[in-house]
Symmetry: C2
Subunit: 227 residues, 2 copies
DNA sequence: GATTAAAGTGTAAAACGAACACTATGTCAA
DNA sequence: TTGACATAGTGTTCGTTTTACACTTTAATC
């Protein structure tokens, strides 16, 4: 059913930069395009915004349709509106960035292939998706140093070493173990569990979980989780 | 000339939160709407994005058309996409925030009335423009403490007291004079001019200007202007 | 030349950040 | 069972930064 307007309108899409962490390097989830333009190229998961859904809803829907991911941390990033960013016609894209925990493996993909890539070793991407990804990476680095969002990339139970490795991977620099632990524990937002994490012939590590309730309380008072 | 698409499309607009500073309180520039919906209500300057212009261009164009402002600091803020934010039809709005210097007084307004309001004493606004304004204010507060954007709200030549008053107005708290001056000067981004600012029966104040060239150099190295 | 009112300046104490090396513990293999 | 292995876990010192705080200077005006 066609729809007619007095003036030409841009098409509106959402694109999601999905970050994951495998314990070593920061990863981004890409899908292989099945259709032209840029057929067979890697691209960010995303698609058209329906006229009766919010932008957030569209991002979540596309993410689930194309990668099977649900209930992930999702935040609006930036809106990309260059005139020629899509060769077919004017397309404005609202970009989101998502953080997913290792458990949430890519399973139910819609049709196209979905794959994790190290952000340090990305393939060439369709459209202006490199720009979007770069913007997301800058944002993630910035946010990580003043908001406790790293936990969104770790399993619910994690060790302090895992947390440190994550920070090191995202920030791209080694951190001092003692200083990191002191700082991470100083906010009293990590709850030590009764369990330990055993992983080879060496001392097992204390497991922690993040306390989101306490964080919400602190956040309202303008709290910063600085590492 | 009508334009037809296979699926319905949202209309795309830009809205600008324009901040100014009169020496006392932080101000926002609003225009009175001449047309329905929300006729005669105050609203943010903004309008439809043309299909052949970028979002930034649209924001600059609308700003000039509706308020006469040109060459202002302008940065994308957030994209608002609630389904019912415009009672007529689906409208997605890319919000911008602008900082203008006192000199750039509102003159050549398109037709509608434009007026400065203290952000602490705003009228009721059209659409979801309060949300947009609140988001902009939060962003401005955040940015001010780690980027030297305050200068965009002051005349090219300013005194340290004027700068401090601006910070106090935006952050909403008094700052210590000596500590503020020490910090502001410590980055070596303020150039003392040969002129003084005389303003009543008391010691005249040293005038400074901001050094944008030096700042650009520092910014590339990941510099933070923290106050 | 006395008054006015804002400009301009330094220091001490406390908090914070950075640098740095050894002990503890469970597993595994000999 | 015992010793080797490999990661977990822990404190202190030193330099820097932040905070708190009060008096002197200066030009204009009366």
């Amino acid at each position: 059913m066609p729809h007619t307007y007095e003036y030409p309108r841009a098409a509106l899409t959402v694109d999601c930069v999905v970050f994951g962490f495998d314990g070593g390097e920061l990863q981004a989830l890409l899908i292989r395009r099945g259709l032209a333009p840029f057929k067979d190229k890697w691209a960010l998961p995303g698609g058209f915004v329906r006229v009766e859904e919010t932008l957030d809803d569209a991002a979540r829907r596309e993410l689930e349709e194309e990668t099977g991911l649900r209930e992930v941390f999702l935040e609006q990033l930036y809106t990309f509106g260059s005139v020629k960013r899509d060769p077919r016609e004017r397309v404005v894209s609202v970009a989101y960035f998502a953080l997913v925990k290792p458990g949430a493996v890519t399973a139910a993909t819609d049709a196209a292939e979905a794959k994790w890539f190290s952000v340090s070793d990305l393939p060439s991407l369709a459209f202006d998706h490199v720009d979007i990804l770069t913007t997301a990476l800058t944002r993630l680095r910035g946010k990580l140093t003043y908001q406790p969002i790293g936990f969104e990339l770790l399993p619910p139970k994690f060790t302090l070493t895992q947390l440190q490795r994550l920070y090191e991977a995202v920030l791209g620099e080694p951190l001092d173990k003692r200083n990191f632990r002191k700082k991470a524990l100083s906010y009293d937002l990590l709850i030590a569990l009764k369990e330990k994490h055993q992983d080879g012939p060496h001392r097992p590590a204390q497991l922690f979980r993040f306390d989101p309730v306490k964080y919400e309380r602190l956040k309202k008072k303008g709290f910063l989780f600085e590492i």
